[in-house]
Symmetry: C2
Subunit: 439 residues, 2 copies
């Protein structure tokens, strides 16, 4: 029984949560503020109304990135189930669903619990269900809520047996939808060859009506070669391997009746996934991409990946606009102990450092002028400690203790998880809203 | 006006917070549980009562580590202001204060806000106060609560000016206590030589009675050399440099009257800090160590550091017991796609990876036997993704999807910040309690 269209959205309840000075970035001594009222406080980042470090999201860039991805999907005929693990922010999920996202992807059952609490109806778990609590919880939710639509990956006979047993034990009256996972030698999960994949697919079919094979999935984002060309050749071969698994399953009648889902495409190769899976010759297929990072982009790793998407894909290059970094981390110059070196008041607790170190973007001296200025070349983050960044600077750099420095990030996933709340800003760095995360 | 001894401890209010299935590690579909009642749920980790991944703290090891550090402090005559940034758990701060800690150290004013909310009375901010909000908040707290005792670092004339201006603006009737920070060339914050340090010290003195120089501080933990011997020689030289700064300030009468604080000692060289600062010849000195990691230790970086402490320090080696790892991360085997490779259900979102990758410690097959077994040599975590660990295993490894694997960590700070709550376990992995973190 689906909710009526005008039912209150559970995600809107997040607006009623209070932010207080236990939340990093909230000003000390200020009374708690209802999250939905953050935009009414007339706070401005450059006016130092909030303590730093502070992670902010540029509202207009989020909007533009959402529109760009919608154009890309429309042009390719694919759908997206954006990976929710990136932001774990139901308010951003709502924005993605409003942009047309088909589902939200999650990595774990804890993440699924967050989605379910906030009323997400269609969820793709991009992992095999493992463990008593995880399997039990998903089957309970499927029993409890007929409007809950769920998909999980599977790559093993053991996984089939555990899941089927729990579906039977709870008397689940509909099948658990499964996507057969393909993987590569030396890679992450997933069947390594078509024989293994077929064996798992047959085991699923043997568990009908408790389980249903509804598609094939793989994650190409970890594939590495000696060069860009080799990376891309290997990604292409992997996508073809997924298509071959799907063709095998179809030939043998192992899919449940109806649409077949083909899913791949993280945040680096979604153009290739869109193109090759659509061309796989499976007429009843729906191609589901899963990029988590397109919404905020970043200033390094995914910026480069997007440049490469546009080089590879005339379709992507021909679309209006493009993805831009929406996430910035603002810090203070904490110390300038040497002419060529300064220390910023942010570290591993505040910003991702797994793919690349953050990059200085701009600076502002409180009270001087109305906007931030770009930083001259030669300012480079060379080390992060837990709570500090070490920056190499030209001896003539104007920066001194108390100046503000904006950092661009690389890898949104490992920055979001360092913030319970992030503030939304406009171009003047007025704080226009806030989101909560649930990690 | 200090609280009466029997006033309710604000930290105990954390027991009244509810944990629910928005918190990673809480079982889906279970009613919310008051944090203080977690131990009454009769949950057991090995019985799969909680979803994995799950970070757990061994209660008895926490107790033993606290006792060991108390013995070390008693033997050396030093005090400790444990770095609260490690755990950001007021419940663990309470335990540390009960063990005799002199103060809690923090890195940022957001962390100070958490401490103040939970009633911590003596705080050492191991950074220079920078920024309108941070400086304003500390001075407001000092004005508001005469029982609040506060110390901050300082390494610049700009820092002196900004802090004095705000103390005057708010009419603060007592001085802000400052520790002059010494640093090393190429290192983090801190004056690089005695002349710089003296210039800052004189600037502080010139701002009496608004500011008071009460000690000298440095952080030796980032010092690196080509060998252990060179590291330690450089650490020793740095500690002597701090002592020399203190002697200079004393000679020139730059300290405020009374006790002088000498502070250094992170989690790797606290024995050297204790020994050398105590021997600095400043009779009115109190030596304040600041280790954050001793309470939980770890299985790699700080395990090795502690072995070295005992090699270096006959005093430490002669104490009963020793520091042991209290923190474990439990995961499932998510997939075994190749005989020599398996994937665990935990990644960068769950465990530190900045100093070393986690190490497999033990495994358990649900329902089989009553306790976990050690893992044979050859099981090695070789890569972490956001939500997965890649593990190289011997072909004859018994592990299969659904088995549980415990990982030991390296660097507690960057594991704690990935968990809103951590469960306490006894030796049988019964869940006996929980702590909240506030990052």
């Amino acid at each position: 029984m689906p909710d009526p269209m005008n039912a209150p959205d559970p995600i809107d309840a997040i607006d009623d949560l209070l932010l207080d000075d236990l939340v990093k970035g909230f000003p000390g001594g200020h009374a708690p503020v209802r999250l939905g009222d953050v935009g009414k406080q007339r706070w401005n980042l450059l006016r130092e109304d909030l303590p730093l470090p502070l992670a902010v999201l540029k509202r207009d860039v989020l909007d533009a990135n959402g529109r760009w991805m919608a154009r890309f999907l429309k042009a390719t005929g694919c759908v997206i189930a954006p990976h929710g693990k990136t932001t774990m922010s139901p308010q951003l999920f709502k924005r993605q669903l409003a942009d047309g996202a088909w589902a939200i992807t999650v990595a774990t059952v804890s993440q699924l619990q967050v989605c379910r609490r906030f009323g997400i109806k269609r969820i793709l778990l991009a992992n095999q269900l493992i463990g008593k609590q995880a399997i039990g919880e998903v089957v309970r939710e499927l029993v409890r809520d007929p409007a809950f639509e769920f998909y999980a990956l599977i790559d093993s006979i053991e996984g089939v047996a555990m899941l089927a047993a729990e579906a039977k034990r709870q008397g689940l009256a509909r099948p658990v939808n499964l996507l057969l996972e393909g993987g590569i030698e030396g890679g992450r999960a997933g069947c390594r060859n078509r024989e293994q994949a077929l064996a798992v697919a047959r085991a699923i079919k043997a568990e009908a009506p408790h389980l249903a094979l509804v598609g094939v999935e793989g994650f190409e984002g970890l594939i590495r070669g000696a060069s860009t060309a080799e990376n891309e050749a290997r990604v292409a071969a992997f996508l073809d391997f997924l298509a071959a698994i799907a063709a095998d399953c179809r030939r043998e009648g192992l899919f449940a009746p109806g649409r077949v889902i083909l899913s791949a495409g993280g945040s680096a190769y979604y153009d290739m996934a869109a193109e090759r899976l659509a061309a796989a010759g499976i007429s009843e297929a729906m191609v589901v991409l899963r990029s988590g990072c397109y919404l905020t982009q970043d200033s390094t790793a995914y910026r480069k990946a997007f440049e490469r998407v546009r080089e590879r894909s005339p379709l992507a290059a021909g679309l209006e606009g493009g993805l831009m970094p929406a996430l910035e981390l603002w810090t203070y110059v904490q110390s300038r102990p040497e002419p060529g070196r300064l220390i910023l008041s942010a570290g591993k607790r505040d910003v991702s450092y797994d793919l690349d170190l953050p990059v200085p973007l701009a600076w502002y001296r409180p009270g001087v002028g109305r906007s931030a200025s770009p930083l001259a070349p030669g300012h480079e983050v060379v080390q992060l400690n837990d709570q500090h960044a070490h920056v190499k600077v030209p001896a003539q750099s104007p920066l001194r203790p108390g100046d503000m420095v904006a950092l661009g990030i690389s890898h949104p996933c490992t920055t979001f998880d360092k913030w319970q709340a992030m503030f939304l800003v406009d171009d003047a760095y007025d704080i226009v809203g806030a989101i909560r995360t649930f990690f």
